[in-house]
Amino acid sequence: MKESEKKLSRMQLGEGILIYGVVCIFILLALIPFLCLISGSVSESDRLQKYGVALWPRGITFDAYRLIFMFPEDILISYYYSILITVIGTVGNMILLVSVAFALSRPSLRGKKFMSMFFFFTLMFNPGIVPTFILYDYLGLYDTIWALIFPGMMSVGYLYLLRAFFDGLPAELYESAHLDGASEFIVMVRIAIPLITPGISTVTFYSVLNYWNDGYTGLIYAQNIVPIAIYLSRITNYIDFLKNGHGTNVGGIEIPDDTMIYAMSIVATGPMLAIFVFFQKYFVRGLTTGSVKG
């Protein structure tokens, strides 16, 4: 180790406490709510109502989970819709985004400025939800899964990230392919796309995240199609409604209300959160390279 490096790595006590202390505070802030959530989901409901959640469960009971898995139909249907919407939406979104980003990245595409403005305008000017709602209503898309898929498709904000990745490819790459007589489409699919997989995986991740967590579109454009994010809020409202004086005894079954909310949250969001955490490095990598470059 060089002398200078040693000096760099050595931290004075005061500095160390402050730096590690601040970072540790943020770690705890990020972690504690979820630990409380897990502990709450196995706590006894009446004790939760009195004392609130804590890091350590207040009593241990798996009643809430048992109840959820006894009647899983609703939650499974919501999962089904969420998966369907996320998969179709993301595939469509990526196809549209990548094709436009590729076209825009090709030098001297005629009308490039126009094409660029055509998409960028939608980012600049958003007419609000009423006119869009009217259109979906007119087209008969209200309360179909398409009403939950189309709004998130072609998310122009990520066009520029993808384009930056295409721009990073050397021009000679395309020239040789053209001399072999390949069409632009072949060049895009065979040559360009495989080389920008970091960018594509980042935007794909973002797209999945946005579709899955979308608690907005489903509220506006649908009634009977309840994706998981909205299902969670509905069930929470429902339990709150029961709790506030309507009795939590439904059809002869006593619902452990507070515990139920936490357990439901975990069943509804846990699996996907685990997936997001697992794949986050691909997301972060592409995003940081993209933003540093641009």
Binding site: E3, S4, L8, M11, E15, I19, Y20, V22, V23, F26, I27, A30, L31, P33, C36, L37, G40, K50, G52, L96, S99, V100, F102, L109, F118, T122, L123, M124, N126, P127, G128, I129, V130, P131, T132, L135, M154, V156, E172, L173, E175, S176, L179, E184, M188, L195, N213, G215, Y216, L219, I220, S233, T236, D258, S265, L273, V277, Q280, T288, G294
Partner: protein, 323 residues
């Protein structure tokens, strides 16, 4: 990387041999046509779902009557706007959007910068990685779940409610105290986004030249001196651009954040209601479509002007804008 190099070699090898060279700067008619064809599906999608709705903006100039339909309703000129600008709601939602956004921009930037700088100073790569993985976690959480977490802290039996009672003897009903909610939203915003934004600052710093830091260390500059005189100037351009870009969204707000975490409690509207939630209520409660469209139009026009302006400014400062 390897494939890329290989392809580049191939490319240069071949360009030496062919005698015919295309004119520079021209892709050829065929290639041009193919590129437009590739982009066509996206163009159609955006034309139908983003441009056609613009026609619906006429509603802002009509008195909407459900029986007569969107286009059969009578024209009223700017009456909707007059009604809107005079209403108390409009002042509230616009003020909230601007004030809360400004608070978000300031606190969000400062805290993310702080965390990014501190992360960079931590020499244990393992710890940094772990810390980043955890701090970014809230970013992946949907607002309805955040609302449940917030409620577990702030409702009747909430952890914070109990804590406050223990310390001061007073019980606070957080969902009836609009004055506290700007602060609560600011905290939520930091909590959810600090991981990602600090990571970007961190990435810029790790990509920078380390020798400057070593030289400064030899000269006896402490950690905080190095942060102040080396790291912050390195990040300055990025901070400025980020701040400018976020001001283009001054009137826009995250619907999910407000709608779910406030539990749609009307008592909290004075500090939390924003244009998005207002328009949503109008639509859901079959309220005033015309005024709601007018709000959307105002928001859209302001957003348009701000985006153009900020983008131009960013271009001037950094030499490159978004378009």
């Amino acid at each position: 990387m390897f494939i890329k190099d290989k392809m580049r070699n191939n490319a240069t090898d071949r360009t030496v041999t062919p005698p015919t060279k295309k004119k520079r700067g021209g892709l050829g008619k065929k290639a041009n046509f193919q590129l437009w064809l590739i982009a066509l599906p996206a163009i159609i999608k955006v034309a139908v779902f983003s441009y056609v709705p613009l026609v619906g903006l006429v509603l802002a100039f009509k008195f909407y009557q459900p029986r007569r339909g969107y286009f059969g309703s009578p024209w009223v000129g700017f009456a909707n706007f007059e009604r809107l600008f005079r209403s108390q709601d409009f002042t509230t939602i616009v003020t909230n959007a601007i004030v809360n956004n400004i608070l978000f921009i300031i606190t969000g930037t400062v805290i993310a910068l702080l965390v990014g700088l501190f992360m960079f100073e931590i020499t244990s790569k393992g710890f940094t990685k772990l810390a980043q993985t955890i701090i970014i976690f809230p970013f992946f959480v949907a607002w309805p779940l955040v609302a449940t977490l917030v409620s577990s802290l702030l409702d009747d039996a909430g952890v914070i409610t109990n804590l406050v009672e223990k310390l001061t003897g007073k019980r606070i009903n957080f969902y009836a105290r609009p004055d506290l909610w700007r602060g609560i939203l600011v905290v939520l915003n930091i909590w959810k986004n600090v991981g990602l934004s600090s990571l970007i600052y961190y990435a810029v710093l790790t990509g920078s030249d380390k020798s400057v830091y070593e030289a400064a260390a030899i000269d006896g500059a402490g950690r905080f001196k190095r942060m102040w005189y080396l790291s912050i100037p390195l990040l300055r351009l990025m901070i400025v651009i980020n701040v400018i870009m976020s001001t283009s969204n001054l009137l826009r707000f995250d619907f999910g954040m407000v709608y779910y975490t406030t539990k749609q409690d009307p008592r909290l509207y004075p500090t939390t209601d924003v244009i998005e939630t207002y328009m949503f209520r109008a639509l859901r409660d079959d309220g005033d479509y015309s005024v709601s469209t007018a709000v959307g139009l105002v928001q859209g026009v302001v957003g348009f002007v701000l985006t153009l302006g900020t983008n131009r400014l960013a271009k001037k400062i950094s030499g490159s804008g978004l378009f």
